[in-house]
Structures are given as structure tokens and as C-alpha cells.
């Protein structure tokens, strides 16, 4: 009984902490601009970025604006990351060509929809092709299923993106990131 209580508490704790882990990696590698469209799954991370005086948060009307922001930041010597839902990935396809053509580093954190207990089945067509779309656009993709995976995966993703001028996408499973009924 004690063991079960402890496990539940640990999960509850890490549920709260994973966006903080991502923010800590942003700080570690010096991410200075974060572009996003408001999103439930990213709400805590967005608040952390908004409250951080060293990070400029840029709220976008469409995820399609994000690639341009990342490119401009890189031209100015700054590192930028993007936060979006899986639906937003589809909005970006042609814009991602800018990143591939010029080898701009880019880290995208994607909260998944349409894959686990989503109340809205209309999210399935985009959610089910999100990872393939990212690969076709030249991204390396990694997937975090559980809160305890986030720290290592995002840490590695940050290093690969910014040290290697690579496009890295990290899919945050719907089971982890919310949007349930």
C-alpha cells in the first residue's frame, strides 16, 4: 500500500515537472526565442517562457510563422524553439523548406492529438501522420511517452539541434501531455 502511494506521488510530481525540465534545457543551451500558438499541453511551458526575462516569447497566429522566426533568430545569432500541437505541423510543411535549404537549427516540441483518449476524432487524420510528415520535412523525430523520459530526450534534442544545425522534433505523447476528454 505504501509502495503504491509512493508511485502515485512520484508520477504526480513528474507530471507537473516535465515542462520545467524542458524550460531548464532551454536555459542550459541558451534558447532565446520561443514561438508558439496557445495550447493546453504546452500551457505550463509557455507560462515559464513568458515569465523568463532571458526568453522572448512570440505568440503566433499560425504555426506556419514559426520557421521564419527560427531562421531570423539564427541569422541574428540566437537560438529559437517552437511549441505546437500535432495539428500545427501540417500548417508548416512548405515553411520548413526554409530550414532545410539553409540548414538552420530548429527544435520543435509537439504535443500530440488524436492518438490517446482524444475526445475529438477529427484530430486523428493529422495526428496519425504527424511523425511521418516531420520526417519527410527533414526532421529527426523522437517520442516521449512518459514524464520521466522528457528530460533525457529533450536534452539530447537540444544538443543535436543547436550543436549540429539539425532539425529535431520531439513528440510529446497525448497520454503525457493531456487533451483528454
Amino acid at each position: 500500500m505504501d509502495g503504491r502511494t509512493a508511485t502515485t506521488a512520484a508520477h504526480a510530481h513528474s507530471d507537473v515537472a516535465w515542462p520545467d525540465r524542458i524550460h531548464a534545457h532551454f536555459k542550459r543551451v541558451g534558447v532565446r526565442q520561443v514561438g508558439y500558438v496557445p495550447d493546453t499541453g504546452h500551457s505550463r511551458l509557455i507560462k515559464l517562457c513568458q515569465a523568463d526575462p532571458e526568453i522572448v516569447d512570440v505568440v503566433l497566429t499560425s504555426e506556419a510563422e514559426g520557421a521564419g522566426l527560427v531562421a531570423g533568430a539564427a541569422l541574428g545569432g540566437q537560438r529559437a524553439a517552437l511549441l505546437m500541437q500535432s495539428s500545427g505541423v501540417g500548417n508548416c510543411i512548405n515553411m520548413f523548406s526554409l530550414l532545410a535549404n539553409c540548414r538552420f537549427p530548429c527544435l520543435v516540441l509537439v504535443t500530440m492529438r488524436g492518438e490517446f483518449a482524444d475526445f475529438n476524432p477529427w484530430q486523428v487524420p493529422m495526428g496519425s501522420i504527424t511523425e511521418q510528415v516531420l520526417k519527410l520535412c527533414g526532421f529527426l523525430t523522437y517520442r516521449a511517452e512518459h514524464a520521466e523520459d522528457v528530460d533525457a530526450i529533450v536534452g539530447s534534442g537540444c544538443d543535436m539541434a543547436y550543436d549540429g544545425n539539425l532539425r529535431i522534433a520531439i513528440l510529446l505523447a497525448q497520454r503525457l501531455a493531456g487533451h483528454r476528454r
Binding site: L69, A71, N101, C102
Partner: protein, 193 residues
Amino acid sequence: MTPATLDRREFVAQLLADRGDLLVIGGLGSPTYDVAACGEHALNFYIWSAMGCAAMVGLGLALARPDRRVAVITGDGEVLMGLGSLATIGVKQPNNLAIVVLDNAHYGATGMQPSHTNAGVDLVAVAQGCRFRQVVELADLARAAEMRALLHDGEGPVFILARVKADDPPRVYPSLDGHATKYRFMQASVKPA
């Protein structure tokens, strides 16, 4: 509406005269040819894909380099494809960013089909609605020097809509190598440590 007579090449040449350390983003299509026609410059970054992204590249750069002035020179078709970017710029209010739209009311790169501005869609009203701090419309070369001063010293975000003649001047192709252009730009503009 009387047909526009402003020559885009002459206008851009005057806009970029004695440009100093102005950072310039050339939007996809004819504006990139116009910028290139002024002569190669390491502080030019030309965009050859991702139509609609030019204003956002300008925003990311302006936010990263508050110590420099940034000018995006693009066309009506290009800005129409990323209209939401103007609202995003309106939220951030970058003081050092100017968007210059060379509006010939046509898609020059694809055969001069009429654009939305040809039907009276008003980009000046859009920019005003998006909270650009200074919004200027012109159709006359006589105001080019005033526009040049706005790029260098104007309180931004600045939006300049230049109604230019609907012609298709000879194309001037800068490098198509995105890596090379990126690194050249970054090396020439690097912030002193």
C-alpha cells in the same frame, strides 16, 4: 485608380543607398531581384522558398538584434500569403523593424496574374489594424529619401507600401545557395563579443 508609375528598381536603389549596417531580407520573387540589382551585399539574406515567411524572418532577426535596423523588402503576393505575421509583429512591436511592400498588384514571378490588392484589398489598413507604429503609402519616387530615413531611424514597427508600376524588369539572380548566403550574412553581421 490610375495606374502606378513608380519604378521599383529606382525606388529600391534609393531606399538602399548608403545603407551602412542595415540588415536586409529579400522576399521571394521580384523583390529579391530588386535588392540584388543594387549590387551584392553581405548583409542581404535572400529567400528562395517558403513564400509568406519574409516578415517573420525579419521579426526573428529584429528581436535577436535590437542593436541593428532590419528591413524586409517583399511583394504584395508574398505578404498576402503570410498576413497573420503582421498581427504577430503588432504584438511584439519591434522598434527596429520595417516591412517594405513593393505592391504592383500582380504576381510577377508567375506571369503577372492580378493579386488581391488589384481588387482593392487594402494592405495599409491591414498594417494599421495590426498596430504598426508608422504606416506610409506612396506612389512617387520623390518620397524615397524620406522612406530611406524611416528604415534607418524611424520608430518601428514601420510599414511602407510602395505602389509600383506593374512591369517585370530583367531578373537579377543572386546566389541560390542558402547555406552560403546564411553564413556570409552571419559572419558579416556578427555581434561584437
